[in-house]
């Protein structure tokens, strides 16, 4: 597990590029648009970087970054807690927020009455059974005086949320609005949706987030900064040109998994482009107050052994 991938390219004819492996959190989607734009538009190249996007084993992006198989990876603040909380040093730090706000929430069939957490009572919810997820659902339900015990839980094996709802496999699913919510519109499945952050502001944590391998970043601070500069440029382009960016995403995705989903990508892009920077002073900035508040909540609710506030992130590699 050497940093083999980071070694200099031997090719003498061209400019020498630094190779970067970037581990995505999922199949390519509009969360990643800026990255693909940076690649497609040559922003990485301008910074002397050659970036390869890879996909992780199930839920493993962070670990791939820890192990040095990837220099950077995407994960979320909530799942990162488990890694921070143990007695082991995973050697990764959050260095940039892709979206400023948590855009996740619960989607349900229109007419079932799950317009807010109270409506979940007596319904079926597909869960990954992560403790934080459960605690959040419990919290938002209790905010509205609903009984969490009356929520029926089934394992989440769902990958196409609108279809699952339409087939009545389940009543409620956790989705990111920018993808799952938009997809429901596209598929013409009438749905209700609520954001967690609207019920309890503590849940407005950072997700998804770009992580970097500490060892790599400490020995290559300039490369790290250059990498984020290129990303930023990419996301800024996506904010300005959602349609064009969407096309670049589809084109640059070497896995071709978005082919045939043009409409979804474009619609999603239109919505999400507004979220990349949102109310922040610039793209990528991690709002420490929201970060710390969520981790404190975890600690207060005994979801972590340690108080993780003020740990695990830095804005120092971001350019102004």
């Amino acid at each position: 597990f050497k940093m083999g991938n980071a070694s200099k390219n031997e090719n003498k004819e061209k400019k020498e590029f630094t190779k970067i492996t970037f581990c995505l959190d999922w199949t390519p989607n509009t969360n990643h648009t800026g990255l693909f734009v940076a690649k497609g538009k040559g922003y990485f190249e301008e910074e002397g970087l050659e970036v390869e996007f890879v996909q992780p084993p199930e839920d493993g992006a962070l670990l791939m970054c820890s192990s040095g198989q990837a220099q950077f990876a995407i994960d979320a603040q909530d799942t990162f807690a488990a890694a921070l909380d143990g007695d082991k040093d995973y050697g990764v730090t959050a260095i940039s927020a892709i979206l400023q706000h948590n855009t996740s929430g619960i989607i349900s069939r229109k007419g079932d009455g799950i317009v807010s957490p109270a409506g979940l009572e007596g319904k079926t919810y597909s869960t990954w059974e992560s403790p934080i997820e459960m605690a959040m659902i419990k919290n938002v339900m209790e905010e509205e005086n609903a009984d969490f015990d009356k929520l029926k839980l089934i394992p989440n094996t769902i990958t196409d949320e609108p279809a699952a709802l339409a087939a009545k496999q389940t009543d409620a699913i956790w989705v990111f609005y920018g993808w799952g919510g938009i997809n429901a519109d596209i598929e013409k499945v009438d749905c209700d949706f609520f954001f967690f952050r609207d019920i309890n502001p503590v849940f407005d944590y950072c997700t998804p987030v770009i992580f970097g391998n500490n060892e790599f970043m400490e020995s290559n601070p300039e490369i790290t900064k250059a990498f984020l500069r290129a990303c930023k440029k990419g996301y800024e382009y996506a904010v300005e040109n959602p349609d064009d960016a969407a096309d670049i995403l589809i084109k640059e995705d070497s896995t071709n998994s978005l082919q045939g989903a043009d409409k979804l990508v474009h619609e999603s892009q239109k919505w999400i482009s507004k979220e990349y920077i949102s109310d922040a002073k610039s793209w990528g900035y991690i709002d420490s107050s929201r970060w710390d508040r969520f981790y404190k909540w975890l600690y207060d609710n005994k979801l972590t052994k340690n108080n993780l506030s003020k740990t695990g992130y830095t804005n120092e590699y971001l350019s102004e």
């Binding site: 820890s66 890694a83 995973y90 059974e129 992560s130």
Partner: protein, 262 residues
Amino acid sequence: MTKKLQNITDKLPPLIALLGFVLIWQLVCFFKIVPSFMLPSPIEVVLAIINDFSTLLHHGKVSLIETLAGLLLGIILAFVMATVMDRFVVLDKAFYPLIIVSQTIPTIAIAPILVLWMGFGMAPKITLVVITTFFPITVGLLEGYKSVDKDSLNLLKAMGADNLQIFYHLKFPRAMPYFFAGLKISASYAVVGAVVSEWLGGFEGLGVYMTRVKKAYSFDKMFAVIIVIVIISLLLMKLVKEIGKMSMPWLNLAKNENVNQK
């Protein structure tokens, strides 16, 4: 005395190999040749087993029930299929290729489909165990039935035995060693089958627990689960072996005697 000695010289080498393996593993961890989050040390794993014991027991029980139920159904299915296929050659010709095909389907691909069809209960898990286990048993039984020599068959025919009697007195006992050989292979795959299907959708069982601890980055617990799975598999194989020994007293005898006789 010599038998005891034999026993020791038989068991010593694997024990030493195992200890050596664990020792190297511990040293690799101790000198941080591999970072600790990538590979928990054996001590950590043992601690994880001790700390999580009741949880492991609970999930282990669920997986074990699925395994045993699947194995039992697999045996019944294999028995019926092999016996019918042995009786009617056409069916043998017709279904043997299909059975082989069924074994090249990745379980990881059908597990989610089974969950989709059968829900989140034990049914899809048991079904998956049946699918992974019936094959070695069926093949074993078929081979066993075919291993019966024409002369023995003629002997019973000459006595005027009907098909059922031939089956009971000759074919089935002759097929038993093959049956148990197949069953041993099945037993070694059965637990894994159950775990895979739980992994891909379920609420309880070692597979579910494994995804859970994996998400929590608890690799020590993850390894603990793997070790529990290995232990259950080995116990199951041992059980099959012992039942086999008990059901076929003539085989052990033959071995003991042959040393003295020939």
